[in-house]
């Protein structure tokens, strides 16, 4: 993946507007967070292949870290802390936030076909 170029990501987000798409949304601080530091909490969540349609999409941020909001008829999809992006296998937009050691902390992915 490469550092987010917000205009290109905005274009990619727009390309899925009003289409039925599959979304992978995830955040994690690792299964060992509490094992390695008893003051830390092990927290994570993911949803894979949620089938949604969004009508508005925006990427915003300060040049290092970005937020994405997708507005749907009945709600929102939101991710914060995104740093990198790529187009994977031609039709999948992958966005992720990595820590300084390259570990994934958050991911938002959109595809017109289901993720494997």
């Amino acid at each position: 993946m490469k550092p987010i170029e917000s205009d290109k990501v905005q274009q990619a987000l727009d390309s899925y507007l009003n289409k039925e798409v599959y979304v992978h949304l995830e955040t994690t601080n690792g299964a060992y967070a509490n094992h390695l530091d008893k003051n830390a909490y092990t927290v994570g969540a993911y949803i894979r292949n949620a089938k949604v349609t969004y009508t508005k999409a925006k990427i915003l941020g300060d040049g290092n870290s970005y937020r994405v909001g997708l507005k749907m008829e009945l709600g929102w999809i939101y991710a914060e802390g995104l740093t990198d992006w790529t187009i994977y296998q031609e039709n999948q937009l992958l966005l992720a936030g990595h820590d300084r050691e390259g570990r994934l902390m958050v991911a938002l992915e959109i595809s017109e076909t289901p993720f494997e």
Binding site: M1, H24, E26, T28, G30, A31, Y32, H35, L36, K38, Y46, D84, T86, Y88, Q89, Q92, L94, A96, H98, E101, G102, R103, L104, M105, A107, E109, F115, E116
Partner: protein, 222 residues
């Protein structure tokens, strides 16, 4: 037979013991539960992403097994989800492989004392699978525990395998999992740069592999 859920569990947990068994001519098979699809290490610097990670880890797993010269069977579960599968179904799946391969020993995680939910649940299913076998045909089970409270609750491990002689093999196996050797394990890549004292401590830490011998009479699972 080694039964762990993730590519690299075998490397950190049992590579020295496996290398020792292989050197003695004992055949070893790794039943690897998942492809570690949900791992957060993407290489450092990152070269994997969430979607490419499974194929990358599959290649790394095959390389690790080739390094240790052990057979590999991938069980096809999904990372982080084993505890939500039906435990008996997983146990039956494992038992069919146990009956086919007939190992004399199974190495797995100690249910409840292995930190990651996949470790605990696959370990529980493995113990269940062996328990479901004809008692005369059961292999021994070595269970690995590493939760912070394990020694307090379980006492000292029964088996302390000295694998100093196989440290290089173990290191090579760990390094096969290139995408995962970051973060806290990053220093494996830079061993030559380490201070001699640090290097010595690291070799010491990874040169004893500890297991509990599972007692089927005392350890009835629910």
């Amino acid at each position: 037979m080694v039964i762990f859920p993730h590519p690299d569990d075998e490397a950190f947990g049992a590579a020295g013991s496996v290398a020792k068994f292989r050197a003695e001519g004992v055949p070893v098979t790794y039943l690897c539960g998942t492809l570690g699809q949900m791992g957060r290490n993407m290489g450092n610097p990152t070269f994997a992403n969430r979607e490419s990670l499974p194929e990358i880890r599959k290649k790394e797993l095959k390389r690790a097994c080739a390094t240790l010269d052990m057979e590999l069977k991938m069980l096809g579960y999904r990372d982080k989800t084993i505890e939500f599968e039906d435990k008996q179904e997983v146990a039956d799946h494992l038992r069919s492989l146990l009956e086919e391969i007939e190992p004399s020993l199974v190495i797995t995680h100690y249910p409840g004392y292995a930190v990651h939910p996949d470790h605990n649940s696959l370990g529980a299913a493995a113990v269940q699978a062996v328990e479901d076998m004809d008692p005369d045909k059961r292999p021994k089970v070595w269970a690995q525990a590493f939760s912070n409270d394990h020694e307090l609750k379980l006492g000292p491990p029964h088996i302390e395998n000295d694998v100093h002689d196989y440290f290089d093999k173990k290191l090579q196996t760990i390094l096969s999992h290139d995408s995962q050797v970051a973060g806290m394990f990053g220093w494996f890549k830079n061993m030559d740069d380490l201070d001699d004292q640090v290097k010595k401590e690291m070799i010491e830490n990874y040169s004893t592999e500890r297991f509990y011998l599972w007692n089927f009479d005392d350890n009835k699972q629910n």
